[in-house]
């Protein structure tokens, strides 16, 4: 059990991802630097309206190397992917209420980066997303999605 968006939760997500991908063949080569930007939309209690929380994730050879909260873009860090969306969307994903592929297809989450790699490693990406959404026993101390007043 870990409170959402806390260091314990990042560690749990990391473990869940690595457990999930451990049986996969053909993990992607090299490392990916992934940034997730969660934008407060007035409904999530975890990101105030107008505020943003940013997370930097390093995927190495298909496994999550580390996962940490950052203030913004860090100098010297070259991103491979940037995912940006509202807090209620990301909270919904973390609570298995929102399908991350749906969110990307509908434009609720904007994705920047080389989509070919994500497509070529679709199986890996799907497993990784599933682990993120379903692999952690998340607790929601300030309230759990869906939020009142949200979509």
């Amino acid at each position: 059990m870990a409170d959402v968006y806390t260091p314990d939760w990042y560690a749990a997500v990391r473990t869940a991802i690595n457990d999930a991908v451990s049986d996969l063949a053909d993990l992607p080569d090299g490392d990916w630097m992934v940034k997730v930007e969660i934008v407060g939309d007035g409904t999530s209690p975890y990101v105030a309206e107008g505020d943003e929380r940013h997370f930097l994730i390093r995927i190495d050879e298909g496994r999550c190397d580390w996962y940490r909260e950052v203030d913004g873009d860090e100098e010297g860090v070259r991103l491979n992917y940037r995912f940006r969306g509202s807090a209620s969307t990301f909270d919904g994903i973390a609570d298995s209420l929102v399908d991350p592929i749906d969110a990307a297809l509908s434009g609720e989450i904007k994705v920047k980066g080389d989509m070919r790699l994500l497509m070529r490693h679709a199986r890996h990406v799907a497993v990784l997303l599933e682990a993120y959404a379903q692999g952690v026993d998340t607790t929601w101390p300030e309230g759990r999605p869906p939020y009142e007043g949200g979509d």
């Binding site: 592929i101 297809l105 509908s106 434009g107 994705v111 980066g113 070529r120 990406v125």
Partner: protein, 531 residues
């Protein structure tokens, strides 16, 4: 003329200039060589009729503005380019006097559509909304990256379960034509005709099997048509300015006759004048693949099998465009304005295609070398850009689907009939806009498919798309699988023109994607990948 550069780029169309500008910004010493007297290629604006009337000879519609990364990366607007996104983007006028409008606003478009079918209007709203949601993903995946294969793409879509998550995007689209897609989802023949016409004018012929796979992307940007204020050539000039400001050079009237190859590597070019220029790092051609690999290099310098394929298997469009450029004292006043007043403010008007069969019949006629009964599309740029004509006047453009080679007389047959067919196109226009008479039309000139290929040598057989759009000539198979990733068998020789993925039109895509491969090969820091 200097003799040595890091990079030599053949062709100063928008792809050549774009690639040149990126490489110059990356610190390379770049020269872009142009056969014609000016930069621009298809971004060609000329006073074809009378002084002060600016006619876009080729590219008129810029549909990737703010979607294509180079627009921002190369500060196109900072170099003086101004775009207008017309409020009434496009219209179809039908023989029954009705008209359907595409606005820059989805609600208004659906309102117009609902006058034909409320059900279709709601379907279109869902299609547009869905397509608009994933247009960024599709552009990132399909347009502005070196291409994947259709197989890779469909496998990924299946893995992500996209078919279950969307209403319109499906792996089976790769087996369907746009006609089939429209028949499955829409009911009103006039709405289907308009949507098919939109595909066709984007190069996606509605009766070709497999092209439904690209149709959602077309719908996602159906209302993103932009007009380049002052003529399309302004964009070429802006790209040239960016190139020059970053130390690059563009030389006009510099016709390449040979790519110099030494020990399997492209090391320079020879001009028709006899001069030779040395390339320290690369040569990139943005002209057609036939010129590049059959005329510019010796047959012995590429594998015989590839030489044979380039000679025999490059696919060009099986239809082209006949144009009439007009100088006008009045804007058209359509009778259909009684049904839909805003039709008089539509930038582009499709005249008379009322069903898919209307379009299909014309494709059959054109493919047989025949001239269809004219149903031109009419664009009046001056409605949204008054600077392209003298005060109070209008610049007009009629475009008609047509064959390059006429049955019985071949391409040369156009020399004798261009004027007559132009008159028929104007008559067809007048049928819908009776004021387009001799008082309103100050002057006009035809521009035939033959003239396209004469003016723009790389538009082989009038192929303004520089390669047919079919399932087996897209993505990594365009123009051939061996050449689908912008490299050639000759080390240091790249293909970066519209023969490559994604295709023609002002997409910037071929140059942008070739840049990624060149950067990887030459270890250039990809500063433009500002993720």
């Amino acid at each position: 003329m200097r003799k040595e550069y890091d990079a030599i780029i053949i062709g100063a169309g928008h792809n050549g200039l774009t690639l040149g500008a990126y490489l110059a910004r990356s610190g390379l010493d770049v020269v872009v060589l142009e056969r014609r007297h000016e930069e621009g290629g298809g971004l060609c604006t000329e006073e074809l009729t009378r002084e002060g009337f600016l006619h876009n000879v080729h590219a008129n519609y810029h549909t990737f503005v703010d979607l294509a990364p180079p627009v921002a990366d190369l500060d196109v607007r900072g170099h003086g380019v101004e775009y207008v996104r017309p409020e009434v983007q496009m219209a179809s006028i039908y023989d029954d006097g009705t008209a359907l409008l595409i606005y820059d606003d989805l609600d208004r478009t659906c309102e117009s559509m609902s006058r034909f079918s409320a059900e279709d209007a709601e379907t279109f709203r869902r299609l547009y909304t869905e397509a608009h949601g994933f247009v960024d993903l599709l552009l990132g995946t399909l347009m502005y990256r070196p291409p994947m294969s259709v197989k890779e793409l469909t496998r990924a879509l299946a893995t992500f379960g996209v078919e279950d998550k969307t209403e319109f995007l499906s792996v089976k689209l790769r087996r369907e034509s746009i006609n089939e897609f429209l028949d499955q989802h829409f009911t009103d023949p006039r709405i289907k005709a308009h949507l098919a016409f939109h595909g066709a004018i984007c190069g996606y012929t509605n009766d070709v099997s497999g092209l439904a796979i690209g149709y959602p992307l077309l719908v996602g940007k159906i209302d993103n048509w932009h007009l380049c204020v002052g003529g399309s050539h302004r964009l070429a000039h802006a790209l040239w300015r960016d190139l020059a400001q970053h130390g690059g050079t563009m030389i006009s009237d510099a016709e390449v006759s040979r790519i110099v190859v030494d020990d399997g590597r492209a090391v320079g070019v020879r001009l028709s004048s006899g001069e030779e220029l040395t390339a320290r790092k690369l040569v990139a051609s943005t002209v057609d693949v036939e010129q590049t690999l059959l005329e510019f290099v010796e047959p012995s310098e590429i594998p015989a099998e590839l030489h044979s394929k380039v000679s025999n298997e490059i696919q060009h469009k099986d239809w082209t465009l006949f144009s009439v450029h007009l100088a006008m004292a009045e804007a058209p006043q359509y009778e259909a304005a009684a049904f839909e007043p805003d039709v008089d403010r539509a930038w582009v008007v499709n005249l008379g295609y009322g069903s898919l069969d209307d379009l299909n019949d014309d494709w059959r006629t054109v493919r047989g070398g025949g001239l269809p009964v004219p149903r031109p599309n009419a664009a009046v740029n001056s409605l949204y850009d008054p600077t392209d004509a003298p005060e109070g006047c209008y610049t007009g453009l009629l475009r008609q689907f047509a064959p390059f080679s006429l049955a019985g007389s071949g391409p040369g047959g156009w020399e004798g009939i261009g004027r007559h067919y132009g008159e028929r196109c104007i008559e067809a226009w007048r049928r819908f806009a009776p004021n387009m008479n001799d008082d309103a039309i100050i002057d006009w000139v035809p521009f035939t498919p033959l003239e396209i290929s004469q003016k723009m040598k790389n538009m082989v057989r009038g192929d303004w798309m520089m390669g047919e759009i079919t399932l087996d000539n897209m993505l990594d198979e365009r123009p051939l699988r061996e050449l689908g990733q912008y490299r050639t068998p000759i080390e240091g020789l790249y293909l970066a023109g519209s023969t490559q993925h994604p295709h023609g039109f002002i997409t910037f895509g071929p140059a942008y994607n070739a840049l990624q491969e060149i950067a990887a090969d030459l270890d250039i820091d990809p500063w433009w990948q500002n993720i």
